[in-house]
Symmetry: C2
Subunit: 240 residues, 2 copies
DNA sequence: CAACAAGCTGCGGGTTTACGCAAGACGGCG
DNA sequence: CGCCGTCTTGCGTAAACCCGCAGCTTGTTG
C-alpha cells in the first residue's frame, strides 16, 4: 500500500509521515508533495488511492487538488487534515466529495490517537471519519435548520466578489428584484440590521459590505473560498 | 537568560524550543504559551525580556499580545515568527513596534540557520532582523512609492468593516466629500475600474465591495486585520 | 512673494441599493 | 379542488453611492 502526503509545512509533513508509518504497517511507501499542484501530479503518476491532504496551501489549495484528483479517480480515499473548521472549508469539501467516496476530515489539533485511528478507518475500512467539531458545522450548513441555504451562500459569495445586483441577476439567471430579495434574506440571517440600526442614525452600516465582513468574521467565508470564487468568476466572465 | 515562546501549534512550539536551545546556550529557561492571552500573562509574571511570537493564533493573535507586552515593557525583544508575509501583518507589526525596540520578523519557511541567526542577533545583539521578503513589503507599504498611504489604508479598513460614507466621515472627522475622494483614490490604486469597466455594461462591479475583495486577494487585508479593526470599531461605537 | 501641488469641502446629478407593496407561479396537503 | 407557504417578478421611492466641477486652505519651492 502506498500513501501520498500533500502538505506544505515540512514539520507537519514529517509528523504525518511518522503517523502513517505507525498507524499503517501495511503501508510500504510514502510519497510527499508540498503543494496542491505537485500533489495532483504525483497522484496521477502513482495512481494514488490513499491521500492525506492539507487544506490550506500556498500554491493550490487542498480542495482544488482533491477535486481534480477525484475527477480522475473518484474512488480515491482522501483524508483532509486541516488547522481550521471554518464553515467555508467544510462547505467546500462536502461540495466536491463524490458519491459514496470514503474520506475524512480531521483537525490538526486532534490527538495522535485520533489521527491514526482515522487513517486506519478511511484507508483500510473505507469509512468516513469526520471530526466531531466539523461534523457539527456540516449538519448546520447542509441541513437548512440554522444555517444558510445554498442560494443564500451563493449570493453571499457574489456580493463578496463585488458584483452589482444586475451582474448577479445575469449570472444566476434571475431578475433584479429576486436578487435583491435574496440579499434581504441574507442580511436578515447575518444579523446585519441590529448592529446597523443600533440607535442613532449616525452609526449606520452599508449592509452589503457589512454582510461580507460579518460572514468573514463568522468564518462563513475565508480567503481560500474567495480565491476559488474569484477563479470561477473569471471563468464565467470569459465564457461571456 | 529566559525565553518565552508563544505559539499555538505544538509541533512548531517544540521545534522553536529546540532551536532556542541550540542557538542560545546562554539561555537557561524556556517557557511556553499556546495563545496570546496566556503569552501576555506569562510575559508579565516572568518579566520576559525575550519572546518568540507566532502571529496567527486562535485566541488572541500575536500582534495584540505584542502590543500589550510592549506597552508594559517597551524594551522587550520580540521575534515574530509567521507563516505569512501578508501586507496586513507587516503593517500591523510595524504599527506597534516602539521606538528603538529590537525586534524581528522571520518566516516559518526560513531555514534553521536563518532562524537561529535571527535569535542571536535580536536577543543578544539587540539588532533588528527582518526577513528579506517581508522587508520588501515594508518598504513598499511605508514608503508611499508604490503602496498605500495610511489614509488610504484607513479608509480601506473602514469600508471593509461595512461603514457608510457618513459614518466614516464622522469617525475620521472628515466631510462626506473627503471620504468619497479618498475612496476614489483607493479604487484607483486597487485597479477596480479596469475589471469593472471592461467592455459591456453587464459585467460591472460594485466598486466598494470589489475594492475590499481585491484588497483581500492581494493580502492587503486578512482575517486578523479585520478582527482587530472590528474590535476597534466596537470600542469606538461605545465611546459614542 | 508668486507659483504650484495636494488635500479638504460644497454643489449637483446620474446610478445603484434597499425595500414595501402587490401580483403571479409552483408545489404540497387536507 | 381550494388553501397556504415559498419563490419570483415589476413598480415606485428614499437613501446611499460615485464623481465631475470649482472654490479654499495648506505646505513647499524657486
Amino acid at each position: 500500500m502506498k500513501v501520498l502526503i500533500v502538505e506544505d509545512d515540512p514539520l507537519h509533513r514529517s509528523y504525518l509521515h511518522e503517523a502513517v508509518n505507525a498507524a499503517l504497517p501495511e503501508c510500504d511507501t510514502v510519497i510527499e508533495a508540498e503543494n496542491g499542484t505537485a500533489g495532483e501530479k504525483l497522484a496521477r503518476d502513482h495512481k494514488s488511492a490513499h491521500i492525506v491532504m492539507d487544506l490550506q496551501m500556498a500554491n493550490r489549495n487542498g480542495i482544488e487538488a482533491a477535486r481534480t484528483i477525484w475527477k480522475e479517480r473518484p474512488e480515491t480515499r482522501i483524508l483532509f487534515w486541516s488547522n481550521y473548521s471554518d464553515e467555508a472549508y467544510v462547505r467546500g469539501v462536502s461540495r466536491i466529495v463524490p458519491d459514496g467516496a470514503a474520506y475524512g476530515y480531521v483537525l490538526k489539533s486532534a490527538s495522535d490517537e485520533r489521527l491514526k485511528l482515522a487513517l486506519r478507518s478511511i484507508f483500510i475500512e473505507s469509512q468516513c471519519v469526520i471530526d466531531r467539531e466539523v461534523r457539527g458545522l456540516q449538519q448546520k450548513s447542509l441541513g437548512q435548520t440554522n444555517g444558510f441555504t445554498d442560494s443564500e451562500y451563493e449570493i453571499l459569495v457574489d456580493i463578496a466578489l463585488g458584483l452589482t445586483d444586475r451582474a448577479i441577476a445575469k449570472r444566476r439567471g434571475l431578475s433584479l428584484r429576486s436578487v435583491q430579495n435574496r440579499l434581504q434574506q441574507l442580511y436578515d440571517k447575518l444579523d446585519v440590521y441590529q448592529s446597523a440600526g443600533d440607535d442613532h442614525e449616525d452609526g449606520r452600516f452599508n449592509l452589503r459590505a457589512r454582510a461580507v465582513t460579518v460572514a468573514f468574521l463568522r468564518k462563513l467565508l475565508n480567503y481560500s473560498a474567495l480565491e476559488r470564487a474569484e477563479a470561477e468568476l473569471q471563468e464565467w466572465l470569459e465564457g461571456k
